[in-house]
Symmetry: C2
Subunit: 337 residues, 2 copies
């Protein structure tokens, strides 16, 4: 079993497992070469051989304890009838935003993995090439974050439209979150069936909500999603941005909470009994010179629990990150202590 | 003395004073008419008669307890040598971002209100027309938020460049924050001399930092700014986004902390002894129908302290807000109870 899975289960490990959110892509020159070969970001995601290649690249270069399948959280929305584009600049764009309940009601949970088979194929390819001790992580977007993309029409700065939609149509919005939860549960099951041994759910825009709103609207949908994975026996990691939300997460049926860079690891672990924590170096810290990265990583490691800890960043690695700085982070995590 | 000043001093008032962040502008048709007359946003800010006109519009229409001078936090950077533009789409843009310490070192504190006299003139015009019981608020950006604009080159989604700059050049970054603090202190003194009876400092991008980083880098600069206003005797309001930062604010030398929509008013007031709190209805709640606005406002008012409370939103009012919804918010605050 992999070091990552042991740590997710809060078993003793020789050192913290380590991987980096968005480790496949963006900051790696070998990724940019494969990306150019694919022609477009979507073609890269949808060609299993190429998606597998970029998934493996950071593991080959750095020897991470986990690979995470190269994909995007919007892709499983396509078989639900959502059209989107990934322009070279400015983030993804939903071609026709689903602004109201009438449009939300048309979303359906796809059957039988229709429309996402390429992800399962890529996972099977990666699993066949990874050493047994390296975990393979499948992932999806959380219902709230997906709802934000659908309603805002893309990446939003203030998420005001999705909050307004939630407050204006609370019952219909809950149904929207439930449909997204059911679709993502099926999608993660498909990934696990194909060979993923760990799953992570990204609630990247959680930070836009107050703790009572998050508890009222989002936690029930996340719970619904997670419960549909109960029988799989794979560790479930939930990434939630916004340190003010940590206490609300204690009741989630997941093994690991992944914390953003604003959150104190020790304080979070203290209010999440029975759960492992993952994170949370500021990705911006990796834009500093390697010596500063080493100091920041050592400071982070002083705040981690004795068991049940996965080393990572507090958000996706930034495209401008120097290779040497990522290496410095890794080296410190792997230092004997 | 105005109801707002009494509440800032935590004295008894007949009902909470109420105003709305960004009440002058954007969502008002009479604003859009004056804006069209001015030709450009910057021309509007820099023409005292027109800036005074739009400052007074929301008070005339709604009878708020305070006016806030119409301006923008970037304007006092012009006499420091910073060039910026306000394009019609996409937020303000710094013409040449100050990415490193060499560029930061060239920023100087302007002398004698040079370059911001038009704000003082507009304040004097407004004060001359406002009833005595309506407070007039002067404002500025907080050093951290201004540093983010300078280093990111505009409104940033992730604020990674400014965090990286802070972590890479901590000593020089502290000096940058200090220069901005001194410049903003002088700018607020100029506004008070012209007739502002309350000041507010906006740290809109505080949410991008962890509490330890905020305490280490930002609180000293904010304290330096606020201390330079000690002798003026006007209430000092500090708006800080990000509920996780509230405990760090207890030691700030200010009378009022303005809370964002994610923050629980009662819990925040409990950890801010001796301070009044302002806020914090979600601006997105005002995009819902008036009945939902009334319910949300009543729920907010159940969480407020018995004294030392100023009703407001938790962030600036959104341009799409219906007049009737803003009116519903106001009506509930003014209900006898």
């Amino acid at each position: 079993m992999s070091r990552l899975v042991w740590a997710c289960r809060r078993e003793a490990v020789d050192r913290p497992p380590v991987w980096i959110m968005r480790q496949a892509g963006r900051f790696l020159p070998e990724y940019r070469a494969t990306r150019a070969k694919a022609g477009s970001f979507l073609a890269l995601c949808r060609t299993p051989e190429l998606a597998a290649e970029v998934t493996l690249q950071p593991v080959t270069r750095f020897g991470f304890d986990a690979a995470i399948i190269f994909s995007d959280i919007l892709l499983p929305l396509a078989p639900m009838g959502v059209e989107f584009a990934f322009p070279d600049e400015g983030g993804p764009r939903i071609e026709s935003a689903l602004s109201g309940p009438g449009e939300w009601a048309r979303l359906e949970v796809p059957r039988d993995g229709r429309g996402t088979a390429f992800v399962a194929e890529a996972i099977a390819l990666v699993r066949g090439k990874l050493p047994a001790e390296v975990a393979l992580i499948g992932f999806c977007g959380a219902p709230w974050t997906l709802a934000s993309y659908l309603i805002e029409g893309g990446t939003s700065r203030d998420h005001a439209a999705v909050r307004a939609a939630m407050l204006s149509h609370p019952d219909e919005f809950r149904r929207l979150l439930d449909v997204l939860a059911d679709a993502m549960a099926a999608y993660l099951r498909q990934q696990v069936a194909a060979g993923a041994g760990v799953v992570q759910i990204f609630d990247s825009w959680a930070v836009a909500l107050s703790a009572p709103s998050y508890g009222d609207f989002v936690v029930p949908a996340l719970t619904r999603l997670l419960r549909q994975l109960d029988d799989l026996g794979v560790p479930r990691i939930v990434y939630v941005s916004g340190g003010h939300l940590v206490p609300v997460l204690a009741a989630l049926p997941c093994e690991v909470v992944s914390l953003d860079w604003r959150t104190d690891l020790a304080a979070a672990a203290a209010v999440l009994p029975g759960k492992a924590v993952q994170g949370n170096l500021d990705p911006a810290a990796l834009l500093a010179p390697p010596e500063a990265v080493r100091a920041a990583t050592r400071a982070m490691l002083e705040r981690v629990p004795a068991s049940g800890y996965v080393a990572n960043l507090g958000h996706g690695i930034l495209p401008a990150t120097p290779i040497a700085s990522a290496q410095a982070f890794l080296d410190v995590v792997r230092e004997p202590r």
